[in-house]
Amino acid sequence: MNVLVLLTAILFILMIVIGGKKGVRSFLSLFLNFGVLFITIFLMTNPKNSPVILTLIACTVICWISLFFINEMSSKTITAFISTMITIVILLLFIVFVTEKSMLRGFGGESTEEISIFSLYIGVNYVQIGASVIIMSTIGAILDVAISIATSIHEILHHNPLISRKKLFTSGLSIGKDILGTDTNTLFFAFFGGYLSLLIWFKDLSYSIGEIINSKVFSTEIIMIFCAGIGIALIIPITSSVNAYYLIKKREKTENAS
């Protein structure tokens, strides 16, 4: 039996047992997101499509699935959706700038052997693909923060309907601070788990610190971690202000109507 099939089956069963209906939905959305990622990769192989634009579209679809499919369409998920999209656009501009400047693209020294059999002149823009990789690996965390803050701000307003916009915004920020630490941690360890073999490779070849920092693979990885952290930090004020603005507007509307 195949390892992946068995692991998937175990994950699915656990999700059903522990999460019930919501677990089934979470599992399905993982599956759908995986599908979206795949279709995006296929479309990227056509040099006529810009990888950055494709990534933006893919992110929209992924947000749509994770927000409106797992949680129903509500003012909570709509505000989360808006703030995620704003953050992604800002972050994408920043990342394209950074990858362009630092010449992080394509493959590093560790894969020379593996790719030596391939034709490398394939016409696809690898600068943009580098940017796509970074944004795609962050999107999960950004979504997580957006939905947590939106949920808590709605909760606060529900318990305390007369709260001012500024108070709502600051309470959003303070919830965000708690998530900031744990989410950067999650990404950090996930990256290090994934790149453990590379780190051992560097140590084996006894690279000096200078050589490690300047190498393409390591600098890509570390800039990826930093960009992910910046994304998480960025979405906290954005989602807090979007939520505060939207909810107060809504409250004023109902007040005027009555």
Binding site: V3, L4, V5, L7, T8, L11, M15, I18, G19, K22, G23, S26, L30, L37, I41, T45, P47, S66, L104, R105, G106, F107, E114, F118, S119, L120, Y121, I122, G123, N125, V133, M136, T138, G140, L143, D144, K177, L180, T182, D183, N185, L187, F188, F189, A190, G193, G194, L196, S197, I200, K203, D204, G210, I213, K216, I222, I223, I230, A233, I236
Partner: protein
């Protein structure tokens, strides 16, 4: 009272000044640190396009090839200040090559020449990237400090301490014969303690989270090991780890161990925090009520945290997947060669996350009851 607040703002100002000084000093240093590198560094001062052709390979992929002539000036070593000339060929896709611009700093080799007065030539090895890494690092630090204030500072500290621990551990592994899984086990203990105490402080909540994290990671690792053993690793392709000269199975397992840790910590601290908050709001809350609300919270975070892991692992293989597909590699093989390890990591992490929900539910209730008994 006034004195205390005064002292606090004074400390704050001092802290900001310190950060600003660090920032300016490090940026200045990194732009002028050529002398510290043993490898020759050259800065590009002129580029000239000499040739451009259109290339198409046997799979009908079209690409443009360019040749540029580069004049650069050496920034360190014995030949410092002299001009050096290169020719560079690059494609517009840039999968393994790149165009260089005026101002880029490059690591180069200098071709030995018998004639002292001849023009220096050489080959380009790599780009000097440390200044970009540093600047992005500072943006990251500022973003975390501005948004997270105290918590931001603590997460930066925890990231730094954890990387130092990891680096030490890998040195130990490379230079001795100690089992990697054992080293990683010790690391996981340290990581969990350091991160959770720094994020959350020393209290019952943290203890509950630490116990849940350790149990969750160990159980999920055991499950993954069992699955690997039962299926005799059918379907896992280790080819992408081929550049290692070490037993890659063990390294893969260790990566699995560390990779899942962050997500498991995330779940257990979220669960512990919200359950302790519920208890503090209402000290008489029953175990049953705690259990139901804890489960609800767990169900909420389950999906998002597993998808964080999926996106992190799978996105990393996008460049390779595209290269394989453009070279008309069969789809099935492309996927199993490039994604099997990533998917296994993501799935194992997901299993850890889901399992940690009930585990941290019970550890939190246990520590809440201990607090109640006091």
């Amino acid at each position: 009272m006034e004195n205390i607040t005064k002292k606090k703002t004074y400390n704050k100002v001092l802290f900001y000044i310190l950060i600003a000084i660090c920032f300016i000093a490090s940026v200045f240093f990194v732009y002028h640190n050529e002398a510290f590198y043993a490898r020759p560094i050259a800065e590009v001062i002129k580029t000239e396009l000499t040739d451009s052709t259109t290339e198409s390979d046997m799979y009908n992929n079209e690409d443009h090839l360019y040749t540029q002539r580069i004049t650069a000036v050496l920034k360190n070593g014995e030949e410092k200040g002299r001009n050096i000339y290169f020719t560079n060929q690059y494609s517009s896709s840039g999968a393994f090559d790149q165009e260089y611009h005026v101002g880029d700093k490059l690591f180069v080799t200098i071709k030995a020449s018998t004639d002292k007065n001849a023009d220096l030539t050489g080959t380009i090895l790599d780009v000097k990237r440390d200044q970009f890494v540093l600047i992005v690092a500072w943006i990251f630090i500022f973003a975390l400090l501005i948004v997270g204030k105290r918590q931001g500072l603590f997460s930066i500290i925890s990231l730094i301490v954890n990387s130092v621990v990891l680096s030490f551990a890998l040195d130990l592994y490379v230079n001795s014969n100690i089992n990697l899984i054992f080293i990683c086990g010790v690391c996981v203990l340290l990581f969990t303690g350091i991160s959770l105490i720094l994020i959350n402080g020393l209290n019952e909540k943290t203890y509950a989270a630490i116990v849940a994290t350790l149990l969750g990671t160990v159980i999920s690792l055991l499950i993954s090991a069992l699955v690997l053993w039962v299926t005799s690793e059918n379907g896992l392709r280790y080819e992408e780890m081929q550049f290692l000269t070490r037993p890659y199975r063990v390294i893969f397992m260790a990566g699995l161990f560390i990779g899942a840790l962050g997500a498991v910590m995330d779940v257990s601290i979220t669960m512990a925090s919200s359950m302790f908050a519920l208890f503090e709001q209402n000290q008489d809350i029953s175990d049953q009520a705690l259990k139901t609300s804890g489960m609800d919270i767990g169900k909420d975070v389950m999906g998002t945290i597993t998808s964080i892991l999926f996106f992190v692992y799978i996105s990393g293989s996008i460049p390779m997947l595209i290269l394989y597909l453009k070279n008309s590699y069969p789809l099935g093989q492309t996927l199993s060669l490039n994604l099997s390890l990533e998917l296994a990591r993501a799935l194992a992490g997901g299993i850890g996350v889901v399992l940690t929900i009930p585990i941290s539910l019970y550890t939190s209730i246990f520590f809440i009851n201990r607090k109640r008994a006091k």
